[in-house]
């Protein structure tokens, strides 16, 4: 679990930089640029684990959590306060079932993934697409909320996980969740920490705390 302040700062700098790119590419409702002072939460994977897992970490703004979790590439995006979002959508955006449009959902899903440099063609080639809407009244209810899950499942993995998925609000194209689990479908450049040895050298280790220890 050894780390240094310098390592964390460099990892954080890279993740923030990438989050800014993603926010711009996906036109996310963020106040750009995202800076360290905008962050509510930061998880920087301990260096040894991060080198192995190639999962640098993730940051949370007041709007989204940006994950660099697959091959040091931007891979997951999750809207903050999801539960509240679902409640608001349900309260204010209940549409009659006749307006359910999975074709439109699929089109927008592929556009959003492509905008984030995900390889939609390869996903379509290798996986089966499934689409699910937010149906708070059940599938036979009168209304639904225009929030769609579009997800790609490898044929051998059906029921045991997905390769990529995106959940979004159709009218506003607001992304609620996006996950791409396999690096080969993520066309983005991996984030690489230069001068790793220097950053992890003892001179850059964390200072000794001056606060008293907890019992």
């Amino acid at each position: 679990m050894f780390t240094t302040k310098a390592y964390r700062e460099e990892a954080l700098r890279l993740i923030i930089e990438e989050a800014n790119c993603v926010a711009r590419e996906l036109n996310l409702p963020e106040s750009l640029p995202i800076t360290e002072t905008n962050l509510l939460e930061v998880y920087i994977t301990p260096p040894r684990i991060a080198q192995g897992m190639r999962a640098l970490g993730n940051i949370t703004t007041s709007n989204y959590t940006y994950y660099i979790s697959v091959d040091n590439k931007f891979s997951f995006l999750v809207r903050r306060n999801l539960e509240q979002e679902y409640s608001n959508l349900r309260a204010h955006c209940l549409w009659p079932m006749s307006r359910m449009d999975t074709n439109a959902a699929y089109q927008i899903a592929t556009q959003l993934l492509a905008a984030a440099s995900m390889d939609v063609n390869a996903l379509n080639r290798d996986c089966k697409v499934q689409i699910q809407a937010f149906t708070p009244e059940g599938r036979a209810g009168k209304h639904f909320v225009p929030v769609y899950w579009v997800y790609w499942v490898a044929p051998s993995q059906e029921g045991r996980g997905i390769t990529a998925s995106i959940e979004f609000v159709l009218p506003t194209r607001t992304i609620l969740q996006m996950h791409v689990k396999d690096s080969k479908y993520i066309l983005r450049k991996p984030l690489e920490i230069a001068n790793l040895d220097f950053l992890l050298s003892p001179t850059n280790s964390a200072p000794v705390p001056n606060a008293p220890a907890n019992p």
Binding site: A55, E83, G138, R160, S205, A206
Partner: protein, 665 residues
């Protein structure tokens, strides 16, 4: 021909003799008699014989063992009754289990009916893990249920009784006093589970008019057809100190019985409640045919008409909603309970009717599971020498990964907060990983988990490492016991009826947790712990498409999990670092467990060697001799991780498509 020492030349005609146990008894004048290579004690055959007259090996004139097949010595040539010299009801060969003719540690004296003065041998603790009469109950359970350990008197039998609620509710009487197993009794000695096809159902034990347990199984929540039913008794148990799983056998099973159920509709526990804000989803699966038309008549519990909903299905599922209005479409129903009578008509005009009772959730907090809620971590250890290592392991591999680390200049917030633990400064600052050293610590943990401090944000996530069992957590070391029981927790969280009520697992009334991992033995043998934390048995992607805010998961073990012995906990720390790093990196729970279950995880975790400790069945496998040494049953000796709830839950949300996770099994 060269004979080696102890080899004998046999006559062509072998003079074997026949007696009750077989036809290979030897005459005493035949060369193999007293011709073995060692003594009877070394051979462990003191209470066995080769002779028709049933003289034991140890009673022969020579100590040299006979060559040939040995039989248990009986009371006479024509008897099948094994010799019981002291008349205590336990055969000599059982009392002297190593067969050396002596009374050793771990044995009772075959010449003394009370090896420990005042304690008849059949109730001696030597037989606590042994089933002397073969009725399925070891000595510990025979004593707990006041049964005769030498008599086939297993009371775990199911007798169906007629209550008038048939066929929807099948009620079975089990001749065990409710005062012994009632969930609401402080001095209960254990619990009863009803197993359907080997899987524990959430069926409450309730007293009948004679105070005997009645198990009422609502068959409308199970698929129709032929089922094998069995009752299981689980003894309360305080856990013993030590790095190894707790050996005692605390489970007894009754004989199986069968029942064929004929419900056409199968209801789902996830859809048994409604609330003023969201109304209700009315759900049923039709097993007879995918095509059907239906009417659902809603009535008050007193039978007063509210509304009728009609529709048709071609998928075999009815999944519609009710906005809590009466037939006029505007007047709101405000009652706390409602009956939905499903009437279906199949294409061949056959029709069926089945009733579902739904209850209202009063406290909407139950529905609200904040993803960034507080996290509580706790662990117990019982070797002071281990405390430091385990402290560092839990602190660095779990708490710091969840909460973050701090130094003199800045604190790095890692998503979760805690009202129980504190982070450390890269290991230099000790932090608080949640060690439970005393009963007071356990009490404080319970207070924390129950969110009884009104001025703190609620805790919705919990990880525990340490000794655990089917229904309690903690460790007993000497007189200093640290534990709490599942029913105590359920009561504090307001989940007693969800865990133990007549509709256990269906009507949630108390606090619900988003993620719970009880990382100790036997914590997922049945849903009791999951229900105590307000977690449903199973949640599907489709259910989350209806109610995405209700995503939650409980993780436990189905048997005696292994833990590293004394000393450094690097192996264990590696496993937990992988698990929690995967969780913090946004991977679904199913994948986090999978990565932490590999000897050599593949990319992206292929940098780490977990072969010395991981969650996988290969590492967790107990060999038969190891199980035997610890008195473990096969069932407990094949520990696996099991998930209740939804396996696709992630740190900040969930992913669909995890409806067939291997960790549900």
């Amino acid at each position: 021909m060269l004979l080696r020492t102890h080899e004998q030349i046999l006559t062509p005609v072998r003079p074997y003799q026949t007696s009750p146990f077989g036809n290979s008894y030897l005459p005493t004048n035949w060369p193999p008699y007293n011709a073995g290579s060692r003594s009877y004690a070394e051979a462990g055959l003191a209470h066995y014989t080769t002779r028709l007259d049933q003289v034991k090996e140890m009673d022969e004139t020579s100590d040299v063992v006979n060559i040939g097949l040995h039989y248990v010595a009986t009371t006479g040539p024509n008897s099948t009754q094994p010799k019981d010299t002291d008349g205590d009801g336990i055969p000599d060969y059982v009392e002297d289990s190593n067969g050396n003719g002596q009374c050793d540690a771990g044995e009772t004296d075959w010449q003394n009916p009370q090896t420990e003065q005042g304690i008849p041998d059949p109730v001696n603790t030597v037989y606590d893990d042994i089933d002397l009469d073969g009725d399925g109950m070891v000595g510990r359970i025979e004593k707990a249920l006041s049964r005769n350990p030498l008599l086939w008197d297993n009371p775990l039998t199911l007798t169906q009784v007629v209550t008038g609620e048939e066929p929807d509710i099948a009620t079975f009487k089990v001749p065990i006093s409710y005062s012994l197993v009632g969930h609401d009794l402080a001095n209960r000695i254990g619990k009863l589970n009803l197993l359907m096809d080997g899987k524990a159902l959430s069926v409450a034990c309730e007293p009948d008019i004679n105070g005997v347990c009645a198990l009422a199984w609502d068959t409308t929540f199970s698929p129709p057809g032929f089922h094998v039913l069995q009752v299981e008794f689980v003894l309360n148990q305080k856990l013993s100190a030590g790095p190894y799983p707790d050996p005692p056998v605390i489970i007894a099973m009754g004989p199986p019985t069968t029942l064929t159920t004929c419900n056409v509709l199968e209801f789902d526990p996830f859809y048994c409640q409604y609330d003023d804000l969201h109304g209700a989803i009315l759900y049923a699966r039709i097993h007879a045919c995918p095509d059907a038309t239906y009417t659902i008549v809603l009535q008050t519990p007193e039978g007063v008409y509210i509304k009728t909903i009609t529709g048709s299905t071609s998928s075999g599922e009815i999944e519609t909603s009710w906005d809590l209005t009466y037939d006029d479409g505007t007047t709101l129903y405000t009652g706390d309970s409602v009956n939905a009578i499903f009437n279906i008509t199949l294409p061949d005009q056959r029709s069926y009717s089945q009733k579902l009772n739904l209850t209202k959730i009063i406290d909407l907090n139950d529905l609200y599971l904040p993803v960034d809620g507080n996290f509580t971590v706790a662990y117990t250890t019982d070797h002071s020498a281990d405390e430091e290592d385990l402290h560092d392991c839990i602190q660095l591999a779990v708490v710091d990964q969840l909460l973050g680390v701090c130094n003199a200049i800045v604190c790095y917030d890692d998503f979760y907060d805690s009202t129980f633990n504190t982070w450390s400064d890269f290991g230099a600052f000790p932090g608080n990983p949640g060690h439970l050293a005393t009963q007071a610590d356990s009490d404080a943990l319970m207070y924390n988990l129950a969110n009884e401090n009104l001025f703190q944000a609620p805790t919705k996530n919990f990880y525990f490492f340490g000794h655990a069992s089917i229904n309690n957590l903690g460790t007993m070391e000497g007189d200093d016991s640290v534990h709490f029981y599942a029913w105590e927790l359920a009561a504090r969280l307001g989940n007693t009826s969800f865990a133990y009520g007549k509709r256990a697992g269906k009507w949630r009334t108390g606090q619900a947790y988003r993620l719970v991992f009880l990382d100790g033995c036997c914590t997922a043998m049945d849903p009791e712990w999951a229900h105590s934390f307000g977690v449903y048995d199973r949640i599907t992607s489709q259910q989350l498409a209806n109610c995405p805010k209700k995503v939650q998961a409980y993780v436990g073990w189905t048997g005696m999990k292994k833990a590293p012995g004394r000393g450094f906990k690097f192996d264990m720390a590696n496993c937990y670092i992988v698990f929690w790093a995967a969780w913090q990196s946004g991977l679904p729970l199913d994948r986090c467990i999978w990565y932490a279950s590999q000897d050599h995880p593949p990319a992206p975790v292929d940098f780490i060697d977990l072969s010395d400790y991981n969650f996988g069945p290969k590492y967790q496998y107990w060999s038969v001799p190891a199980m035997k040494r610890r008195g473990m049953t096969y069932q407990l000796g094949s520990p696996r991780i099991r998930i209740y709830g939804y396996a696709g839950i992630t740190r900040t949300g969930y992913q669909p498509g995890y409806d067939d996770s291997v960790f549900y099994r």
